[in-house]
Every structure is written in C-alpha cells, then in structure tokens.
Symmetry: C2
Subunit: 369 residues, 2 copies
C-alpha cells in the first residue's frame, strides 16, 4: 500500500493506494471521522459491482452510520448537472444527513465531481471521502479538491475548491474495469510523465505485453502521479498562479475534440491523449520544442490509445469552432506547450495558423480506417 | 460615514455605512477590483428604484465593466431556490462573466444569499460585493459570508461560507423602504442589543416619536451591530464553536413561527422579534433568568412590532410540530436563552414542557384583535 500526503489551506489528508484498502484504511478513516450517518453517492453499476465491499467496510461502524443512505444516478457526463445535484441534495435531506455526517463519493470522475460538490455545499459543507473506482479518477480527479457540475455547454462551470477527508483508492476495483477505461486513465499517467517525470514514461515503455495487472507496479505509478498532483495543488490550490493550469496539458485541444466528436464518443482520457499529440505538434511548429517531441509523444501515446481512432467525418472545422466558442467564454484561450519533457509553458497567444495546422495534421494521423 | 473592518480566514474586507456611499466608496472599491465585466443580481423593484444610482457608480469604470449585465428575479423567500440559482448561472454564462469579474448582490437578504452563493460557485468562485438595500440585510445578513439557497422545507440547506470583497450600505435606499421592512430590520438590531450591547436598547428607547430618519443615529446603530457581527464571525467563521450560533437568538422559535404562519405572512424580523419574546419567557421559566427579562423584552420589542400581530387561528400545535420536524432533521434543537442581557447560553436540552408553555403564552399575548 502507498500513502501520499496532501497539504492545502483547505485541508490536510492522505491518499491511500493499494489492494484491499476498503478493508483496512477505509475502516480506520471512518472510525476516526465518527459520522452520525453516512451517504453513498454513486452509479447503479458501481454499487452493484463493488457496493458490497464498501458497505462491509462501513458496517463495522457503530450506530446508524453503519447503514448508509444511497443515492445512485446514471452514468455519463451528461448527468453531471444541476438536476442530478438537486436530486442528491433532496436525498441527503430526506435521509436526515446532517452537518456532522460523511458523504462517500464512490465512482469515477463524474461521481467525485458531483458528490464532492454536493458535500461542499450541503448544509454549507459536510465532510466527504473520495473513493475513486477508475484509474482516471485515482490518478487525477480525486485529488486536489476541484469539484463541480456542468452547465449546458460549459464543463465545470459551477463548482468549488473543497478538499476530501481522505482519498481511498482500492486497486481491486480496477480488475473489473473495462480495458478502454483503463487506457483512458493511462493517458493522464502519460500526462504526468511528460510534465514532471520521464521515469513514468520509461516504466510504461516496458509494457510490451499489453496492459499491466492492477498490482505493485500500477500502485507505484498511481502514487507517483498523485505525488506530483499533490505538490502542484499545494503550490496553487485555487488555480490562480499558473502551476495548476499546467495540469491542463492536452486539455485545451482535448476538450474541443471531446465536444466536437460528441460527448460519450471519446473517453476523456482518449481526448486528452489526442490533445497532447496536438499540443506536442504545436510545440514543435511554434519553435518552442526541437524536433523529436512529436515522436516521443507517438511512442508514449499510441500504445495507450490502442485501437481508438477519430471518426473519419470529424474535420478540423468543428474542433476549431468549439475552441473559438471557448475562447469567447473565457476571454482568451490558454495552451500548455512543452519546450521538452518536464518543461511546460503556459502560452496565451498561440497563432491561429499553428492551432489549425496542429489540429488538421493530427486529425489526419488519427483517422479511422 | 462609518467603516467596520471584517477579519476572517476567508477574507478581509470593509463594511461602509452612510449616505451617498454608492457615489464614493462603491466607485473606489470597483476601481480597486478592476473587473473585466460586472453583473448585477437583484429584484425588478429594487432595480427600478435604485438601479440608476448603482449603474451611475459603475459607469465610471473603464471598458465593459461600465455596462453591467443584469439578472433580476422575483421577490420572496420562495424564489431563493435552486431553480432561480440555475437561471442566475445561465445569465452569468451567456453574459460572458469570467473568473476575474465581479457580481453585485443588490437587494435584501434573499438577493444577498442567492447572489453570494452564485458568486461562490460560478467558475469555482468569483468576487462579489454585498450591496444591501434593507435594514435587515445591512445589520445582519450581508456581513459574515453565509450565503445559500433553500431546499423545499429546509431554509439555507444548500450554501457556502464565502466572504464578499466589501459591503456597501447606502442609507439613502432606506428612505423609500416601507416602514414594515424597517421595523423588521430593527428586530435584528434589538437582538444585538440583548446579546451584546444594552446601549443599543437605550438608544431605541429614546425613539418615542416613531421610527428614526435614515441619518447619523441609524448609521451609528447599524455600525454597532455590524461591529458585533464582525467580532463574532472572526471568532467562529464556520459556525463550529458556538459563538456564531448565539446570533440565532430568537431564531429557533422564530423560524417555526415563520413557517407555521406560512412564509410571506410574517417578515423574518417580525418572527425573530416574537421568537425573542418566547426565548425570554423560556429563559425565565427555566430559571436561567430572573424575572424582569420578559418585561425588558416587551419594552424593546413591542414598539418594533408596531401593529403586527399573529393570526388568531395560529395555535401552538403547528408551531411545535414544525419545531419537531426541524429537530428530526438536525438531530436536536438548540435554543439560545439569556441569563440576562449580554449573557447568552446555548441550550441543547430545553424541556418540551417549557417550550410548549413559552409558545402558548406568547401566542396568547400576540394574538390579533
């Protein structure tokens, strides 16, 4: 088992990563928190697959906290909205959840974001645990306190910075995670590799026989990513100083791709992986990076993408239009580019010419069939 | 003009109280904040009456911030909900409000709570000003960072602690405030008198000729209340240590009264005033206070209530049922009782017998006709 400490103004907490963490550290954490009641916020499928283990862990608690309230909502980014949030609040209220109680955010990024935001605002804030069940959420979204929901056309437009009491990442749940979800999570791992830690990329290069088991090697890789995330979040909890913005490597291109392809068609990690290919190409084109960066990216990213390619009818036009819309909303569009591995730059004025070319050429390379 | 400093972990800011503050300190504050854009959240009636002065104040700003976006929503606690909040978010989003911008919460308690919560969560928090237009909001709700909305049957069940950049209380808006609203605000002034400051009560006793003008005396009274509020909030920003809970003097009874009478029938301050009469009676009955406390309360509160009485069909049963429902939700019902002026106690176990008797006898005294 690996432990990573997170230190922020909004709270100090531990990220536990390993097999059978529900049976050990989760039970201990809940005993320490001593909630009057507990509420599980999750998806039906996750509750069906792993809920028994989670319930067994809290059943060890005294009194009413041992029988948690459940609020289950459908999967998909399209449900991370104010309507689901309202249903969650009403469920907490009618279940009698009060200020001293604890919410368990049990699922992937969508659950962590929505349940964390519900916890941050219900009764002006009650305690919660992040219990991520996807690699993506373990590596990235469960750590650092960014929680929220989407507005129509605007991802994460409503939210808070609100730190959990602990993050409980049990690798056993990854045994049943579909390979495509696992690959999607690895895209974020690659991101940490390029941003901060080439050892991560080297480790992954060794996986010639396909995806790894959810064992010691993956545990170490997740812990390394979480250490980087924790360091960045400690420096820039509220995303004001630029450090935290670096974590958006591949995301400006990736978000536009995700939205232009239609949500649900690409996994978030897949879009970020393709976005990193575009960002690397733009880094070379702009002269910031020497040639070779693209090739390094291909080597790291193509195995993670596996068979996933872009629909052949997806042209650069829609992607660029989506970026323009984003630019209008946020008054400017910021790109993270690389001078080389471990040398990210936040670029506020990338020429449209380079953006267009990077998108077009990468699309060409990633087209189906 | 009076200035009160507020010091909290969530922010340091100034409360400005006086006539013509929009023309002076508001303009200066906005120049200091340098927003890219501004958004006014308010009610149509307030915008109609005072919007011109507010717009003139921000018109002095450079660029697009000089022409604020407006989101106006209907008056009444019943609109302080997630549906109005969603409309506010969408208005901010389609108006292109971004993270560096400023929301102006321009109205009474409902506007301050809803607009403040919108600001605290839009884009994970943007800056806002409290610009209260009722005495109630100037004295109490605009200071201290409690913002939020109601869920069906649960006041303020969703919210945050989020401090404004400044509070701008311009007394000129009180000139057109209906007398009943002014009286309702005075109930909170009386509350501060009993909790912390008998001089407040003495000042008010001098008002034999009716309500005061919105001049120097009222300015001083508001500033004194805000000083007390600021001190309490600095000690206990997150309402965890008991100090802030004392500010609920009269509120446990008052909330039940408000809800049992039907929202809108009693002003919040009227319900709190009546609630303080009940709390004083309960303080005497429980032996915590000597006799005389009730009489002091009658002397201070009855002039503030004026002609307002309770509907004669309102029996103690509904009020007690409402308190029971509250008790169930929050696992326990806390009362603030007084040993005497300036000696509040937080009481977690007041006998049902005393509660019932205090409610019944006060109802009898406050009945119509």
């Amino acid at each position: 088992m690996a432990e990573v400490q997170v230190h922020t103004a909004g709270g100090e907490y531990t990220v536990y990563i390993g097999r059978r963490v529900y049976e050990g550290e989760l039970v201990e954490t809940m005993r320490r928190l001593r909630p009057g009641k507990t509420a599980i916020l999750s998806h039906p499928s996750i509750d069906r697959m792993h809920g028994r283990r989670l319930r067994a862990a809290v059943a060890a608690l005294p009194s009413t906290a041992a029988e948690p309230l459940s609020f289950l909502f459908p999967e998909g980014e399209e449900h991370k909205n104010l309507q689901t949030l309202e249903k969650a609040y009403v469920a907490l209220l009618s279940g009698g959840i009060a200020r001293e109680d604890v919410v368990l955010a049990f699922g992937g990024g969508v659950v962590g974001d929505l349940a964390g935001f519900a916890a941050s605002t219900y009764m002006r804030g009650i305690r919660f645990l992040q219990i991520p069940t996807t690699l993506m959420a373990m590596v990235d979204s469960s750590v650092g306190g960014k929680v929220g929901v989407d507005l129509p056309g605007a991802k994460n437009a409503v939210g808070s910075f609100y730190q959990p009491q602990a993050v409980i990442s049990d690798l056993e749940v990854l045994d049943t995670l579909p390979e495509r979800e696992l690959r999607s999570g690895l895209a974020e791992v690659v991101k940490y590799g390029f941003l901060y830690d080439e050892n991560i990329l080297e480790t992954m290069e060794g996986w010639t026989a396909g995806m790894p088991e959810a064992g010691a090697e993956l545990e170490d890789l997740i812990a390394r990513c979480v250490e980087h995330k924790a360091r960045v979040v400690a420096l820039d909890e509220l995303d004001l100083r630029g450090e935290r913005a670096m974590l958006n490597y591949g995301h400006t291109f990736g978000h536009a791709l995700e939205s232009a392809a239609g949500y649900g068609r690409l996994r978030h990690g897949e879009a970020v992986a393709m976005g990193m290919l575009m960002a690397a190409r733009a880094s070379e084109m702009s002269g910031l990076a020497g040639s070779g960066l693209m090739e390094m990216h291909r080597k790291a990213i193509l195995p993670v993408l596996g068979e996933v390619r872009l629909p052949s009818d997806l042209g650069p036009k829609r992607i660029l239009a989506d970026m323009q819309a984003d630019k209008k909303k946020t008054r400017g569009l910021r790109f993270v580019l690389l001078e080389g591995p471990r040398k990210p730059h936040l670029v506020e004025s990338l020429s449209e010419e380079i953006v267009r070319k990077a998108v077009r050429e990468t699309l060409e390379e990633l087209k189906e069939g």
